[in-house]
Each structure stands twice: as structure tokens, then as C-alpha cells.
């Protein structure tokens, strides 16, 4: 449904060269991206600032034309067939509001119904769902300029869905939101994705969004895809392992080896040791350890996706 082949976007930027002169330099924001997204998928795009996430989204939504390569959404070429595409997609750009600043939230929805020419009954039905699921009723009559960021974002998501798009693009939907609003947005998107009726493509900096929502994770760095797959696949590929942290009454004897593990860290003069579980289960490791040492406390730590991604960025 969404296809990108060898997609590129170059920007020419002027950089100061000497006192008055400025030099033109070509920067590839997106540097040969090929991806296919099938109906019903939930895909999360992550990457550091300037990696090309938003630029890719803008090429998919008809805002920017690619420098080269192919892109098609529902078989439409986004920029030339922009207005036809617009009826089939919903777009939330976290940083840019599509609501009417000075009007009550309800009015924006009414105006968008005309802009998208949605039959009243359909509009009503979708708005009712959103009101229930996103708890809009408390601020439906408040002017948008007086809404909190979390309330506004819930309004933006509703606005993007009222015309019944088959795919929803979200650029940083949770940026700057408090914990409660983040939860509200995430559980709404999770529920929306679970229906399978709407394909969801989102960009984020917050890996919790991905862990909660997306089966598929696309990591992009310097305009290139460096990973495309599940979170588990990412861990497997980058060898991130669970680890066992133990607090000991006395340090382990020198030269001690716990089979199937390696020592990942020693703290507090040897009273706290972290083992990476390379080729063994946590249970076997604990059993091997209590046989030789007096263990005061222990915990098993899941691999941290932030670490994996940070390593990925550094490699790139």
C-alpha cells in the first residue's frame, strides 16, 4: 500500500564560507530509502534529530517532492496527486496545528467536515467514537488556544481521523506531553491499530511509544534505514542480552567463572556484580551462583532498547 524505492531528498543549504561569502552545499536528508508498508501495519520510525524521519513523512503525504526515487501511497504519487491522496490519509504534525486557534474545538471539526466533504452521519459516528475514546467532551467547547498540549493533541488526532483515512501518519504525536496524556494517546492509537482498519505510521523519539504500539520498528540514521523489523529482532541482531545483577555478602573469589555468562560490571568493591546472560537462563545462573557465594539480593534486568538504539546511532 505504501511503497518507497530508493527514495532520496537533497536540500541545498548555504553555509558561511569566509566573511561574506556563503557556499552552497548539498545535504541528503533522505538517502536511498526503500520500504514497503502493508495495510493494517503499525510502523514506528525512530532516529536522531535530523535523521530524515519527518522528511520521509512529508514525501509520503505530498508536502515535499522527492529529489529522486519512487514513492506511492495507494498507488498514488503523493505530490502530483496530492488532493486525491489527502482524502485517503490522515496527518498529524505534532508541531503544526491544523485546528482553528480562536474557535472552540468543536468548530474545527465542523469546518473540517466541509473541507473533506464528509457525509454528516459518518462524521457524527466517528466524532462520537473519538469523544468516547479520547475523552474530548470536557473541552469540546473551549477555544483551541486555551487547550493544554495534551488536550490539543487529542483534538489533532480526532481532526485527522474524521474523514475516515485508511492510513494515519503521525509526526511526533507524544512530544512534550505529560505522562497521562501520553498514555491516553498511546492507548487510543493501540486500540485504533488493533481494529486493523487504519494503518498507522508514526515517528517518535520516545521508544516507549514503539514498545507499546509498533510491531515494526524502522530505525533511520543519516537518511538511511539501519534497521527494519521487530524490537526482538533488533535485540537479537545487536546482541543485547538480559543481565543478572547480584548483591553479595563478600566479593567473589578471584578467577571465578559462572558458566554461560560474562561479567559485565563490578561495583561496590565487588559486593555488586552484573552478569550478562550470554548462553544460559537466569535460573541456571542463579543456581550456579548460590552454590558458591552468599547472595543477599538479585534482579534480572531486561535489555534496554534505548541502549541498543544509542549504539546503533553511534555506529552510523
Amino acid at each position: 500500500m505504501i511503497r518507497m524505492r530508493d527514495l532520496r531528498k537533497d536540500f541545498s543549504v548555504r553555509v558561511p564560507a569566509g566573511r561574506l561569502r556563503r557556499e552552497k552545499r548539498l545535504v541528503s536528508a533522505v538517502d536511498g530509502v526503500s520500504l514497503t508498508i502493508e495495510p493494517g501495519e503499525m510502523v514506528g520510525y525512530i532516529g536522531p534529530n535530523g535523521a530524515g524521519k519527518s522528511t520521509t513523512l512529508k514525501m509520503l503525504t505530498g508536502v515535499l517532492s522527492p529529489t529522486s526515487g519512487e514513492v506511492s501511497v495507494f498507488g498514488l504519487t503523493p505530490v502530483p496527486q496530492r488532493t486525491r491522496l489527502a482524502l485517503r490519509i490522515g496527518v498529524v504534525f505534532g508541531q503544526r496545528s491544523q485546528l482553528w486557534w480562536d474557535l472552540p474545538l468543536r468548530e474545527s471539526f465542523r469546518l473540517l467536515r466541509h473541507v473533506y466533504q464528509v457525509p454528516p452521519a459518518e462524521h457524527e459516528q466517528r466524532l462520537r467514537r473519538c469523544r468516547e475514546m479520547l475523552d474530548l467532551d470536557a473541552f469540546l467547547d473551549t477555544p483551541v488556544r486555551q487547550l493544554s498540549l495534551g488536550q490539543r493533541m487529542r483534538g489533532e488526532i480526532t481532526a485527522a481521523l474524521l474523514h475516515g483515512p485508511k492510513v494515519l501518519f503521525l509526526d511526533e504525536p507524544t512530544i512534550g506531553l505529560d505522562v497521562v496524556s501520553k498514555q491516553a494517546v498511546r492507548s487510543f492509537l493501540a486500540e485504533l491499530g488493533a481494529t486493523g482498519a487504519v494503518t498507522v505510521v508514526l515517528t517518535t523519539h520516545d521508544l516507549a511509544d514503539i514498545e507499546r504500539l509498533c510491531d515494526r520498528l524502522v530505525v533511520i540514521d543519516h537518511g538511511r534505514v539501519v534497521h527494519d523489523g521487530t524490537i526482538e529482532a533488533l535485540h537479537a541482531r545487536y546482541g543485547s542480552r538480559r543481565s543478572l545483577v547480584v548483591d553479595l555478602d563478600s566479593p567473589l573469589p578471584a578467577g571465578f567463572v559462572l558458566p554461560g555468562t560474562s561479567v559485565a560490571g563490578v561495583e561496590a568493591d565487588g559486593h555488586r556484580v552484573t552478569f550478562a546472560l550470554d548462553e544460559t537462563s537466569a535460573a541456571a545462573a542463579v543456581a550456579g551462583l548460590v552454590a558458591v557465594a552468599s547472595v543477599r539480593d538479585l534482579s534480572v534486568v531486561e535489555p534496554d532498547i534505548e541502549d541498543v538504539v544509542a549504539r546503533l546511532y553511534r555506529a552510523g
Binding site: 508536502v63 466541509h114 466533504q117
Partner: protein
């Protein structure tokens, strides 16, 4: 969940109808109107101060004629016909596409993105979302000056002149509208285009407020003929008055002068379309 799924999966209609698009634009204008009403007091103040600006423009012409009986070979009444035609046409353009100047802000902030993801062409969206309704009273004033000017001059009315009198302000409006759009398009290439565009729009308006005979040679040739401003008010006014052009263009030139709007609109459309393709949004 099945029920929810049906809620979302809407019909994908092939595209909007023309009537639907007109309703959409009407809704955008309505949205702007209600937004303004949320600041009633400042809206009223702007409405009045805007009339003030137009009144001043016309007063300048009167002041000039207090010093001399004729300017560039034209009497006050004759000159006022040109001023009125310019004021009416300019206000028509200003009231519709005048706020296109704001494109700079939309481009700089990337807010244009949200218009590009809607199923309507961008230019009318911009125009109707931001219709400068506070300039509404100016229209009344511009039309009044033009009407009075037609009345005080001894126009030898014929069918052709009646038609010209009706078409000339529209031609002027289209021409100024094209200048607005053309100069606003600069923002696609050059966000800090600042006041350069205004130099052409307001400079052009001031140029056409007087008989072009008052201007010196190369300056007149450039603005009146090369850029077409001479056909906005001067030539149609000559044709309405039944006066021969002291600068030597044939009499029929004044009757076809409003057609100058067509190439202007074509150039503006081209610049706009090229500009939109050139749009690069902003980071994030």
C-alpha cells in the same frame, strides 16, 4: 472491535464535487469570520483604521490639485477617475488575496504543511482561511470614489463604455491580485523577501493613481508599458473620457486595456506553481 473497525473504514470518495469545494471555501470564510468575532473590539478598530488608510490615499490627489489646476495635462476630475479606478481595483484585490503576503509566515513556520495535506488547492485555501475581512469597508469607499468620478466627468456614454466601466475595475483587481500572488511567491525561494513585494504592489498602486504623463521617460516606459501598469487605470480612463492619448497610443487601446490582467494572471500562476514545487518545508 468489529464495530470500531467499521467506524473508521469510511468510504473513500473519488474526490470532492465542485459544489462541495465551494461549500468548503464558504466554511473557511465562516471560520475566519467567527475567529474575528472573538476579538470584537479590535476587529471594529481595524475596520475603521483600514478605511482611514484608503481615504488618505485619495486625499493626496486632492492636495496635489490644490497646488495646480492640471497635472500632466489632466484636470482634477479626470485624475480622480484614474485614482478611483485604481482604488476600487486595488481594494478588490486586497480584500481577496491581500493577505497572501502572509505566505512568508506560513513558509517560515512550515504551517503551509497543514494546507498541503488537505484535499483542496493551496492558493484558495490560503485566501479563504485568511480573508482580510477587516478591509471590508475599504471596498465601499473604493467603489464610491469610482462612482463619483464617473458621475462628475462628462463621459460620452455608449454601450462599449458602459461595458468598459464595469470591466475596468475587475481588470484592475485581477492585475493587482496577480501582483500580490507573484510577489508573495518570492517567499518560496527567499523567506526573507520582506518588503520587496510591497514595493511592487503599493508602488504600482501609487503609480496608477495618477495620469502616467506625470512620470519621466524611462521610469514611465518601465512601469507603464513593460510592467503593464499603464493599462490598469490610465488607458481605460482615457477611453471612458473619450480623450486621445497624449502619449500616442490609439483610441482602441483603452478599450482592450483590461485584458492586460490575463498575462499578469498567467505569470503569477506560473510563479506560484513553480514556487509550491520549490517549497521545502522546515525541519521536524
Amino acid at each position: 472491535m468489529a464495530e470500531t473497525g467499521e467506524t473508521w473504514a469510511g468510504e473513500t470518495w473519488a474526490g470532492g464535487t465542485r459544489a462541495g469545494a465551494i461549500r468548503a471555501y464558504a466554511a473557511l470564510v465562516g471560520g475566519k469570520w467567527r475567529s474575528m468575532l472573538s476579538y470584537r473590539a479590535s476587529f471594529a478598530a481595524e475596520l475603521l483604521s483600514n478605511v482611514g488608510a484608503t481615504v488618505l490615499d485619495v486625499t493626496t490627489v486632492f492636495v496635489l490639485f490644490r497646488a495646480t489646476a492640471t497635472v500632466g495635462g489632466f484636470t482634477l476630475a479626470e485624475a480622480i477617475l484614474m485614482t478611483g479606478l485604481t482604488a476600487f481595483g486595488f481594494v478588490l484585490a486586497d480584500l481577496t488575496v491581500g493577505n497572501i503576503d502572509d505566505l512568508k509566515r506560513y513558509v517560515r513556520t512550515g504551517q503551509l504543511d497543514t494546507m498541503l495535506t488537505r484535499p483542496l488547492p493551496v492558493l484558495p485555501q490560503l485566501v479563504f482561511t485568511d480573508l482580510p475581512l477587516r478591509k471590508l469597508l475599504r471596498l465601499v469607499f473604493g467603489a464610491a470614489v469610482y462612482g463619483v468620478a464617473l458621475a462628475v466627468n462628462d463621459v460620452p456614454w455608449t454601450a462599449g463604455r458602459v461595458l468598459l466601466a464595469a470591466v475596468a475595475p475587475l481588470g484592475a483587481g485581477l492585475f493587482f491580485g496577480a501582483i500580490f500572488v507573484l510577489t508573495a511567491s518570492f517567499a518560496f525561494w527567499w523567506v526573507e523577501s520582506g518588503e520587496i513585494g510591497n514595493g511592487f504592489t503599493y508602488g504600482g498602486r501609487d503609480f496608477t493613481s495618477y495620469p502616467i504623463t506625470v512620470y519621466a521617460h524611462w521610469f514611465r516606459d518601465l512601469f507603464a508599458y513593460a510592467l503593464g501598469f499603464g493599462f490598469v487605470s490610465y488607458q481605460p480612463a482615457l477611453a471612458l473620457l473619450g480623450r486621445a492619448d497624449p502619449l500616442g497610443l490609439p483610441a482602441w487601446a483603452g478599450f482592450v486595456a483590461p485584458l492586460v490582467a490575463l498575462p499578469a494572471v498567467a505569470v503569477a500562476t506560473l510563479a506560484w506553481r513553480t514556487g509550491i514545487r520549490h517549497y521545502r518545508s522546515t525541519g521536524s
